[in-house]
């Protein structure tokens, strides 16, 4: 088997295992990443929402916020794990398309 095939298998295994990145923090009652709070969490932390932060924080509406489907925020860990895996597949799929797309423009002919 070619090494690239083997490495892609490793990536697929990581995609399947990725929900561990949701489940383990939940199990240890850990919060989100430091400095990545939403506006309402900020309100709780410092007692107010910084004005500039409030304005800029909604500048972009991601189609799959937090690697989940919209409206799935209240769903259980099983649903979120499913969405997480789908997110990984979609994200990596786009990355591969981008790299294969630019390869033509990036690589010299006949290389």
């Amino acid at each position: 088997m070619k090494i690239t095939t083997k490495l892609w298998i490793v990536i697929v295994i990581l995609i399947v295992l990725s929900p561990l990145g949701l489940i383990i923090p939940e199990y240890f009652k850990a919060g989100g990443a430091w400095g990545e709070w939403g506006a309402d969490e900020m309100q709780k932390l410092v007692g107010y929402i910084p004005k500039g932060l409030e304005e800029l924080s909604s500048i972009w509406k991601a189609p799959m916020p937090d690697y989940a489907f919209k409206g799935w925020e209240e769903k259980g860990l099983l649903h979120l794990s499913f969405a997480y895996i789908i997110s990984a597949i979609v994200g990596i799929g786009i990355i591969v398309l981008v790299i294969m797309g630019v390869r033509k423009s990036v690589l010299k002919r006949g290389d």
Binding site: L7, I24, P25, G32, V46, P50, A88, I95, I99
Partner: protein, 227 residues
Amino acid sequence: MHIPDGYLGPETCGVFYAVMLPIWVRASKIVKKTLKAKQVPILAIGAAFNFVIMMFNVPIPGGTTGHAVGGTLVAILLGPWAASIATTIALLVQALLFGDGGITTFGANCFNMAFVLPFVGYYIYKAISRNAPIGSNKRVIAAGIGSYVGINIAAAFAGLELGIQPLLHKTATGQALYCPYGLNVALPAMLGGHLLAFGWVEVIATALVIKYLQKRSPELLEEGRKN
């Protein structure tokens, strides 16, 4: 380490876009010149690895979470400029599609994770491993140390960028406009988590893959040494 929109003021955002622009241009030129066609799949795998490893959030029990980035590993295989491109693409997809990291802060996030991290990690790896044989443990250790220092320096930069905001932007009443935490809080918070926990995930992931490649595909590491 993905700074969201709203945490950095416009000046800081602008400065880091301005810093990253020539880096992106130079990286594209160098990758165009040196990356061979057969290395393109490795670049894709590298960016995919960056993307998926960042989904493995690691908790500090009762505290915050963080993750590895994998930038040093890609730099060891393809050189730091190609690693910079790979991580930039991963960060772009994360920001646009999943709202992980901001749009205004994209320059800063790329500076930390797609520039500082792979370059620091790579040159430490190079300095330690020198002419060590491809299959040697010295290379595994060098990769581990490089990846650890790389992610921690990157985290320190993120802490600095966040921590200077209260100095730069305040309302008349003393409220912060962007990140409300100063250097005394932001720097230890960002650095502490990575020194204690997330940096070690980076070390383990990097060392495991290097070890695996030494056994299964030493020619890939050989190719990387030429960068």
